[in-house]
Point group: C2
Chain length 131, copies 2
DNA sequence: TTACATAGTGTTATATTATAACAATTTAAA
DNA sequence: TTTAAATTGTTATAATATAACACTATGTAA
């Protein structure tokens, strides 16, 4: 479970928008959508995004420069993320697999180094697009 | 082993530069470095980068918007990549672990879907920066 | 060898993503 | 209450990436 943070006004507005979105949202699309709520500048969006990522309420899909809400309630470590991405429809799903996260959290490189933080993006075709 | 492709002039110039670099290179840094060789515009760089990524000669580090040469000669599937990234010095190393790639190539999500293509980025501190 | 398709090139302009710098305000803790 | 830390609002600008178009090279098949 996430540590509870009281979101500020801008953070709440932007989180709500991302949380309602069925797909990852890009920063300038977020900006466009919240302008009627008084958020006028890119920086206001990016600052809220940075904070929301930091506290684990949202994740950034690095290969897409887009953001989705975290729906992984068992996600202890907000910094360990895994997603599947459909290369046709661009649907993105957060993967919550105890096995996978355990494997990656325990993975050691050649030098015996372990990493608590990672981002994994799988690419393929979703059920719909495969048919 | 990579299928042999004859690189074009621009592709070769840009690959050589990235291949010699001890660290991932960003597109505009590449551009700056190859201007004396007659490559003048961003698009010339991006086109070569796209092709080099496509044929597996280089990889893109998504979280850094930077490119490194593939030094993983056993990398059958150029589309299955894993890196460790030092959060202090930004050193990036390609991970070649048969165990890891086997695990990820065989990973199935909830719906039983397997993914041949993935990108994994681990974050931590490298040996030097840990001390 | 010619003709054709495919891939690559060069160029200008522009779109998209993200941060710097600074002043003012709010919040939370000592 | 006072003080430090975080957040906000704002303008300007940096950094990353693609669109569109005309032209050129290369390989292949008739």
């Amino acid at each position: 479970m996430h540590k509870e943070h009281t979101l500020t006004k801008n953070q709440q507005i932007i989180f709500d928008l991302i949380d309602k979105s069925p797909e990852p949202m890009k920063a300038y699309s977020i900006l466009f959508n919240v302008q009627k709520k008084g958020i006028k500048a890119p920086l206001q969006v990016y600052r809220a995004l940075d904070k929301l990522v930091e506290i684990g309420k949202i994740h950034k899909i690095e290969s897409r420069n887009a953001f989705i809400a975290c729906h992984n309630s068992s996600c202890q470590v907000a910094k360990a993320t895994a997603f599947s991405i459909c290369e046709i429809c661009e649907k993105v799903t957060e993967i919550s697999s105890a096995g996978l996260s355990k494997y990656l959290a325990n993975f050691k490189d050649k030098d015996g180094m372990k990493y608590s933080k990672y981002n994994l993006e799988f690419f393929g075709l979703c059920k719909k697009c495969r048919t």
